[in-house]
Assembly symmetry: C2
Homo-oligomer: 322 residues x 2
């Protein structure tokens, strides 16, 4: 199978998105939409750094990679529409694995009626997948991390640390309880697109997705918004099966684990009941974990209250470049 | 320098494009344009496959990679506006080289007032650059390779094979005439954006850029348009310094060399004078190299007339995946 046959095999026969004018098959894809703002991001995944054979089947490599991109759209309040995939393929990755990677992407793409509209296929020594995602958001409704303000409620969806726990189980082949639950959270995360969309009526929401661990995400909000964020350790939501891991692991994973792809953000106090109600309708757990404050000396920082002590929350998540 | 410092260092202080709402600094970039169709493509470049230390300085790696993407926009008749860069960085690539790669990209980006609006930076063992480009084209004015029709004139801009000759000189450290000319054609190609834009008044143009060699590009047009393309060998434009290379080299490079980033396409016969006139105004060489014909048995193929014999033109360009 050569490059052209491969591209032909992954090319969609039909497209879902009416705004698409030209998909795969020319020098570039073309789409038209005059009622939305266009949102775009790119995320790259490298073998042995972002995934490994031991913990991730080809299907899940594809699924998780696109999920991470979709989560970026959720964090912007946008609906994902299109994706382009650039893949570097080593000789030792067979056609079956390749097809499975794309099947994994198609699987999660289909949940959002997303279309694969372009990409590039090159040979190389390290399996590398770079995904560009394009989404739509109603004009002026993109959600930024710079929109947090004094007295806002800080919230987070779902539970944190589960993906990291799943990775731990896979890496160490551990016989844990609810193994399947944690592994699924790692391999097939659910971006919170619908929840972010449900917040549209709200005037102001600051938003990030938990890709690098909540410590990093909150710090980004605090820095971009020039505010101080205060959270309570005991309010950080974890799953009921999380207590089987050591205290150190629990603590590390919930703050720095990352890849949970939950949403963390802030809203004005008076909007918090609406946020809670929306989450409830979607049967999505949501937690108030703290509040925003304004203190010129402390702005840009995140503080955690634990056992009646307030500590600065350090950030050390996945920083790949040293 | 960590990932964040690096991103900060390459982040533009100001943006050129008024349609950009949010550049680098959130989970995704946001832009708004209601009067154009949006055109997007991605291209990936891997060390030792698409470039090497021997032939390409970091500055030129960046310049050429973005030029290739810009050329895709030209091939669509679109004006490039934004780019996102995903880069895999090995330990042995120092900060200075990295900065030079981005300086190279900025150099050519500035010619088009393009903005760097996103990307990803990860560590890995092989330097890999994946660029996503986004451009605008007036509604319905995107140019496709599927628009060639019977009796069209087939044209190509510039001269072919020069980039491949430049690579040859660099790889073999050859003492050729006009070395600088060929090397520059290889390292700093000029995409034909303005020329493609000048064709806007024309109703129908089929267009491809010469990234993989004209044999491949013509075949793509013939296949997509379901027509037969007949070209004359002696009409293929080559530079006046090309004759110093062997006949085999000349023949191979002009058909299969690729990376000249010229434009090849077809227009109705009556529009050919306009195309010529536009090229003249831009001081761009343009050549009529053949015509389109319709023959059910031969459609999808390209034929070359050479020494009064007509031969099927085979395609073997850069097919990276085997």
């Amino acid at each position: 199978m050569d490059e052209f046959q491969f591209i032909k095999s992954i090319k969609q026969k039909t497209y879902h998105q009416h705004s698409l004018i030209k998909g795969i098959g020319d020098d570039a894809a073309v789409f038209r939409d005059t009622t939305h703002d266009i949102v775009t991001a790119v995320d790259t995944f490298v073998d042995k750094i972002h995934f490994s054979k031991q913990t991730t089947q080809p299907f899940h490599i594809g699924y998780r990679a696109l999920a991470a991109n979709i989560s970026d759209m959720a964090a912007m309040g946008a609906i994902p529409k299109f994706y382009l995939v650039s893949i570097v393929i080593p000789k030792n990755v067979g056609e079956k694995s390749l097809q499975s990677i794309f099947t994994g992407m198609r699987k999660i793409a289909s949940l959002y009626k997303m279309d694969l509209i372009g990409g590039d296929t090159v040979s190389g020594s390290v399996l590398t997948i770079s995904i560009t995602i394009i989404g739509y958001v109603p004009k002026g409704k993109a959600r930024y991390r710079s929109d947090a303000k004094d007295k806002d409620v800080v919230f987070v969806t779902g539970t944190l640390g589960d993906s990291r726990a799943g990775l731990h189980i896979l890496m160490n082949n551990i016989d844990a309880s609810f193994t399947h639950y944690f592994i699924k959270k790692h391999q097939m995360p659910t971006p919170r697109v619908t929840f972010a969309e449900s917040l549209r009526p709200l005037k102001r929401v600051s938003l990030n997705d938990v890709s690098d661990g909540i410590a990093n995400e909150l710090k980004e909000i605090a820095e971009a918004s020039k505010v101080t964020i205060m959270i309570k350790d005991q309010e950080i939501p974890v799953s009921e099966h999380f207590s089987q891991f050591s205290r150190t692991q629990q603590n590390e994973w919930k703050y720095f684990g990352g890849e949970d792809f939950e949403l963390v953000g802030t809203v004005p106090k008076q909007d918090w009941p609406i946020v809670k109600e929306n989450a409830k309708k979607l049967m999505l757990r949501i937690s108030k974990i703290g509040y925003v404050t304004y203190n010129e000396q402390l702005n840009g920082q995140v503080y955690v209250k634990k056992n009646n002590k307030i500590k600065l929350l350090n950030t050390f998540g996945y920083i790949h470049l040293k």
